[in-house]
């Protein structure tokens, strides 16, 4: 059953097409040479800026201009990090955590129940079909375009310059894709299992949590990670819906920090490292889950 549910991730189910023994050696060599060198070239393109960020963030501002930009610092310093941490980094970090958790958890939960309703009763209920169509339409619309009325609504709700102002639209913007991915996976749950739950006298609510929830956990992880990354890195909503430094989230703090210390490149880069570090740590812990999770819904 797990294979039907996770077929998007393609984990070890099929042997590798590239591992086949070739019949024409010269052809294989050509392509391998090309693919191999291209792979390493791309590695350089990806890693060079990242390497540069990390080493520069440990350089003193004075030595930054004097030294070779690609050489590691001769006397590494933590001053840049100290400067960033002293600029209320902890508060911005906490704000980002609150916004991300506060938006992702409810967004995934309500998308999950909505997907369940759409899959279970969508073929009978015209209402649920139109709800689904509405969400699908939301996928085609760049939701950023609605930012001006969102701003107006937030002002009228007296929520301007609060974290809730970022959370509420974030939840709404996360719904369309979450429902699409989750309902695709719920559809893969075999009908007989629903039937036997019904025979056992389970309510729909019970079926949702005891049957569908465990079986669609990979999809739930997918949408949680995908939305979580998007909201953690979100810039437009905090930029427009908050104003005071106390409500800043990390990307916005990064941007204002860069405005303040633009000449102090090492300090700016230290702030880049610090804002990315939490996600990098998560990536190091749950890389497999994160990568397969990110695309499980897309490569179906």
């Amino acid at each position: 059953m797990t294979t039907t549910l996770t077929r998007g991730t393609g984990h070890g189910t099929q042997p590798d097409p590239g591992a086949l023994k070739p019949t024409r050696h010269w052809h294989l060599k050509d392509l391998n040479w090309f693919g191999g060198s291209f792979g390493w070239l791309w590695l350089v393109i990806v890693m060079l800026p990242i390497y540069w960020i990390v080493i520069t963030s440990f350089k003193a501002q004075s030595s930054y201009f004097a030294s070779n930009p690609l050489a590691p610092p001769t006397t590494p310093t933590l001053d840049n990090y100290r400067l960033v941490v002293e600029s209320e980094f902890a508060r911005y970090f906490l704000n980002s955590v609150v916004v991300t958790l506060g938006a992702v958890v409810p967004a995934v939960l309500i998308s999950f129940t909505a997907s369940y309703a759409i899959v279970r009763a969508g073929h009978r209920s015209r209402f649920l079909r139109s709800v689904n169509a509405l969400f699908l339409m939301g996928l085609a619309i760049p939701l950023q375009a609605t930012i001006i009325p969102v701003y107006l609504i937030i002002i009228r709700l007296q929520m301007y310059d609060t974290l809730l102002a970022i959370i509420l639209p974030s939840i709404a913007f996360a719904i369309p894709l979450s429902v699409l991915v989750l309902s695709n996976f719920i559809r893969d749950v075999p009908k007989e299992l629903f039937e036997s739950m019904r025979m056992d006298g389970a309510t729909e609510w019970g079926t949702l949590w005891r049957l569908v929830f465990p079986l669609t956990r990979p999809a739930l992880v997918t949408v949680t990670i995908y939305n979580g990354l998007g909201i953690w890195n979100g810039f437009l909503l905090p930029l427009i819906l908050t104003q005071s430094p106390e409500q800043r989230t990390l990307p916005l703090a990064l941007w204002t920090f860069q405005g303040q210390y633009s000449v102090n490149v090492p300090a700016v880069l230290a702030s880049v490292v610090l804002t990315t570090l939490p996600i990098l740590i998560l990536y190091a812990i749950g890389r497999r889950q994160l990568l397969s999770g990110l695309t499980a819904g897309f490569s179906k």
Binding site: P17, G18, T23, G39, S111, A140, I171, T295
Partner: protein, 308 residues
């Protein structure tokens, strides 16, 4: 009245009992529906309504008929913003698609060193657009950046100070940020291609390059459409990346539609015209989605493994 209710309910229940109980699940869709209406549908209708008003973002909103639309449509900035948006969309698609397919195919092979490379390849996925833009801004600085430090004149150009160069930088940075994600999609798709197809091709004497052209690419057709849709519709929302990197400049060389809306509305305090631009943005997004769906044939149900 109340006595009549139970039989009705019973009838409805028995009529739908063939596929399980219904009705009782409808409420589960309501929280998501309400949230989406409040912060998705209402603003969408609202943006159309606001485009027929005059508002500075703080004071009262005054209906003003077609004034905002006239101002927006007669502004030479609009066709320019549309053109820049289109240019960035088309060029970043043309750069990202072949590279993502190549990297996806490259990573799909189960070789250990490629697994290691993949870990590093995907790091840009984790960074925020703001962080990426800030990094490249510092990296490309003609006085303090990489080029100046290494003393390579070719790299010491004023990358963000000249129109075409800045546009090129935006496309490069966009590709740097998003190729990992699309490679990941292609990697998954390539691994789903049945091995039997490659075996058959081999028996017919096809080399690896030939197999790539005749099997891999056609089998990736739907993935290419999915990935392209995400790229194209996504390119309408490159607001934060461009805003932090160039702020639309130099001049208006990289002022895309989303940025035009923000600057008009939140910096020039012309919410009416900004709403009109937003309406245009929505229409462009919808039109693109429709076109891409037409290209895709809308036939996702058709087996992708035909002939396997």
């Amino acid at each position: 009245m109340t006595t009549l209710a139970p039989p009705v309910a019973r009838v409805r229940k028995s009529a739908s009992s063939s596929g399980g109980r219904s009705g009782s699940v409808t409420w589960m869709a309501l929280p998501a529906l309400l949230m989406f209406i409040a912060f998705g549908v209402v603003p969408l209708v609202g943006v159309l309504a606001l485009s027929f008003t005059t508002w500075d973002g703080i004071g009262t909103i005054k209906p003003s008929g077609l004034t905002s639309w006239k101002a927006t449509l007669s502004d030479p900035g609009l066709p320019h913003a549309l053109w820049v948006t289109f240019l960035i969309m088309a060029l970043s698609w043309a750069v990202q698609t072949p590279l993502s397919i190549l990297i996806g195919v490259f990573l799909a092979a189960r070789k250990r060193y490629r697994g290691f490379l993949a870990v590093l390849y995907f790091i840009p996925l984790l960074l925020s657009s703001a962080a990426i833009s800030i990094t490249y801004k510092a990296l490309l600085d003609p006085n303090f950046g990489l080029g100046a430090g290494l003393g390579i004149p070719l790299l010491t150009q004023d990358w963000l100070g000249r129109g075409n160069l800045a546009l090129g930088v935006v496309i490069f940075v966009v590709s740097w940020q998003f190729i990992p994600f699309h490679s990941l999609i292609y990697q998954g798709a390539v691994r789903q291609i049945p091995t039997s197809m490659y075996e058959a091709a081999q028996i017919d004497g096809a080399g690896r390059f030939r197999s790539f052209i005749s099997i891999t690419l056609p089998q990736l057709k739907y993935t290419i459409i999915t990935s392209s849709t995400l790229m194209v519709v996504g390119s309408l929302t490159f607001f934060d990346l461009i805003y932090v990197l160039t702020a639309g400049g130099p001049g208006d060389a990289t002022r895309v539609l989303a940025l035009d809306m923000y600057i008009t509305g939140f910096q020039a305090s012309l919410m009416g015209p900004a709403s009109a631009i937003a309406v245009i943005l929505v229409l462009v997004g919808l039109a693109l989605a429709l076109v891409l769906r037409r290209i895709g044939g809308g036939s996702n149900s058709q087996s992708q493994l035909e002939g396997a």
